[in-house]
């Protein structure tokens, strides 16, 4: 017998993107390099079950004729995208067992599938659905997981990503990040018609929502730690810069900094109460901490050099930033309460724009080597630095909240595209939009 755990799906405001804006600029994600020997597995199309109907049932209460979302297809795509799994195409499957079927494991062993996922999507009525699934070890003929949870129609895609999270964690021991989102900026059109847009999409590129649109460049989007707000810098009003904080659900935004000169590079404190920003109001770029409740500012750096691109470490105790105080841009670390800055990077002549992993152990950055700007990751304890990419104009690295992947911007031919690389450098993904440039990616925190 298998056990079925109860799993309640939380529907937080985080997912309710009640925003204007048409679904354009869908990110297309493809694996450009996966690991050798990706694990073969099979995710069988989920069986569709509807309750028996009574001839008197009003039309609006009838179940959909077919499942509104192909759960298994989403799970297969999620797992394939990691580069670590190689899902069996449904057309090759010899049988399509559901969650209640007896499994004939030999049907899966002949494809070398190490794992098997079967499931059922059941319509409960009134836009409620129940998802049940089981994960098996094919060779041991043993169930590894069994789950059941119910969701509304709007949350079926999200629920599918949760299924992927559970399977991924069981099989790899690492937390999945399939229910997260990505923010990015697109730029399309030339001359007068050039428009910049800030988007939020699911981590698989689905369902982009426009957060704002501007004639002027949008820079440095940054998620609040609870995922409900996004900060960004905008070059508005004929060259004036400002930092905004926008509520994702309502679209309402506050201008939190608009001084003379640079107002940019926002980074949230882990408690969500402050933003570190770059301001040049006192003559040259310095790091400030803005208290968002009282909008009070505190100056953190004091140096004639460029100090910019602050990013908080997850413990909240320090801020890592880019400075050319040593003659070339390098990463420095300063206590967030103020104090002496300590240089972090010594390898190469250009290390900038830090992104810190959620466990606080690794820093991703843009590193110049041989005239090429590439994503590198440094172990904070040992100081060991490793270049992960082979691009020449990489920018804006951003860690996934599980620390497994780093998304970044780069260029392909004349276009700006996004790519993602696993933190071990083995898996590479490419994320493109149908037209224009895409840049400034920021991976969301885990949904709360």
């Amino acid at each position: 017998m298998y056990k079925i755990k109860l799993f309640t799906n939380t529907v937080s405001g985080f997912y309710l993107l009640l925003l204007a804006g048409t679904a354009q600029a869908v990110l297309n994600i493809e694996i450009t390099q996966g690991v050798e020997g990706a694990v073969p597995l099979a995710v069988v199309p989920f069986a569709w079950q509807v309750p028996p109907q009574n001839p008197q049932t009003p039309a609006e209460l009838l179940p959909p004729k077919k499942p509104p979302v192909d759960i298994a297809a989403i799970v297969r795509a999620d797992l394939a995208r990691t580069g670590r799994f190689d899902p069996l195409p449904p057309k090759d499957m010899l049988a399509r067992p559901s969650v209640d079927s007896t499994i004939n494991f030999s049907n899966w062993r002949i494809f070398q599938s190490e794992n098997l996922v079967v499931g059922t999507l059941q319509y409960l009525g009134a836009d409620r659905y129940k998802i049940r699934f089981r994960l098996f070890d094919v060779f041991k003929e043993k169930q590894l997981e069994g789950f059941s949870f119910s969701v509304s129609g709007d949350n079926l895609r999200r629920a599918a990503h949760q299924v992927s999270d559970i399977i991924y964690e069981k099989l790899t021991g690492e937390r999945g990040a399939f229910t997260t989102s990505v923010a990015y900026v697109t730029a399309a059109g030339v001359g007068k018609a050039r428009r910049y847009s800030l988007w939020i999409a699911d981590a698989d590129g689905y369902g982009p929502q426009s957060m704002m649109r501007s004639r002027e460049p949008i820079l440095s989007p940054a998620w609040s730690p609870d995922g409900t707000r996004i900060a960004y810098a905008s070059l508005e009003d004929n060259g004036h810069q400002a930092v905004f904080v926008q509520n994702i659900a309502s679209g309402h935004r506050d201008k939190v900094s608009a001084h003379k000169g640079i107002n940019g590079a926002p980074s949230w404190s882990p408690d969500g109460k402050s933003l570190a920003v770059t301001l040049s109001k006192d003559g040259n770029p310095e790091i400030y901490v803005i208290d968002l409740t009282g909008k009070k500012q505190r100056r953190l750096t004091r140096h004639w050099a460029i100090d910019t691109e602050p990013t908080w470490t997850p413990d909240g105790k320090t801020i890592i930033f880019t400075s050319d105080r040593g003659g070339r841009p390098q990463l420095y670390q300063v206590p967030s309460k103020g104090g002496k800055a300590r240089r972090l990077t010594f390898e190469g002549k250009y290390n900038a724009k830090a992104s810190v992993s959620q466990d606080g152990k690794k820093v991703a950055m843009i590193h110049r080597a041989g005239g090429k700007y590439r994503v590198a990751v440094m172990d904070l304890k040992s100081g060991n630095l490793r270049v992960l990419t082979d691009g020449s104009l990489d920018e804006s690295p951003s860690f996934a909240p599980n620390g497994g992947m780093i998304i970044y911007a780069t260029s392909a031919g004349r276009r700006g595209i996004l790519k993602a690389v696993s933190v071990d450098g083995n898996i590479h993904q490419r994320l493109t939009v149908p037209e224009g440039d895409v840049r400034e990616p920021a991976w969301s925190p885990f949904p709360q």
């Binding site: 460049p217 820079l219 009003d237 004929n238 770059t278 691109e309 250009y350 700007y373």
Partner: protein, 191 residues
């Protein structure tokens, strides 16, 4: 005659540089002019700037000479040093190269003699490196020009500094020549 040809040939790269730079600027300025109601002055100045671009060939002979035979605002004289409105920088550098000191001096003198004239110095960087760092680099370049203008008599109240970093390239190519055109500070006059 031979000497003259040689001089012009030697100047050609510089002239081409300036020509390209200014034509990119026109597009940029029109763009930001449209987006803001307060920038009609900038629109005018961009029109002036486009005149400068087409006047480059004429200015080749007259370079270094004073505005002989030109009446009106010296800013409109295509043969004046004031017609040159872009200062270029070396990679990752913010020092003003000696080639551009005479141009900046001409602008400083003009600003000192025309107190009501305002100029915006727009700092830019090439695409290499990170965006926010490049915003800072563009600002530092514009500040370097501002300091030199102020040292030579322009008033701080006449000068506004902004930076677009790598966001508004003058040339769209990724080759070394295009990148050189993008590392710049532009003078945008409003009268």
């Amino acid at each position: 005659m031979k000497l003259w040809t040689k001089t012009v040939l030697a100047m050609l790269p510089a002239l081409m540089l300036l020509g390209c730079g200014t034509s990119g600027e026109v597009e940029d300025e029109t763009d930001s002019g449209v987006s803001s109601s307060s920038s009609t002055g900038d629109l005018d100045s961009s029109a002036t700037t486009s005149g400068v671009g087409s006047g480059d060939m004429a200015s080749g002979e007259g370079m270094g000479e004073q505005e002989t035979g030109f009446s009106g605002d010296p800013l409109d004289d295509p043969s004046s040093l004031l017609a040159k409105r872009v200062v270029y920088f070396d990679f990752d550098q913010t020092e003003i190269k000696s080639d551009f000191r005479a141009i900046i001096q001409a602008h400083a003198e003009y600003l000192a003699n025309n107190n009501s004239v305002m100029v915006t110095l727009e700092g830019h960087a090439d695409e290499r490196g990170t965006r926010e760092y490049n915003i800072a680099l563009g600002e530092r370049r514009a500040n370097a020009v501002q300091r030199l203008l102020a040292l030579q008599g322009a008033s701080a109240s006449q000068i506004r500094v902004i930076s677009y970093g790598e966001e508004r390239p003058a040339a769209l190519g990724h080759d070394e020549d295009s990148l050189a055109l993008n590392r710049r500070v532009e003078f945008i006059y409003s009268r």
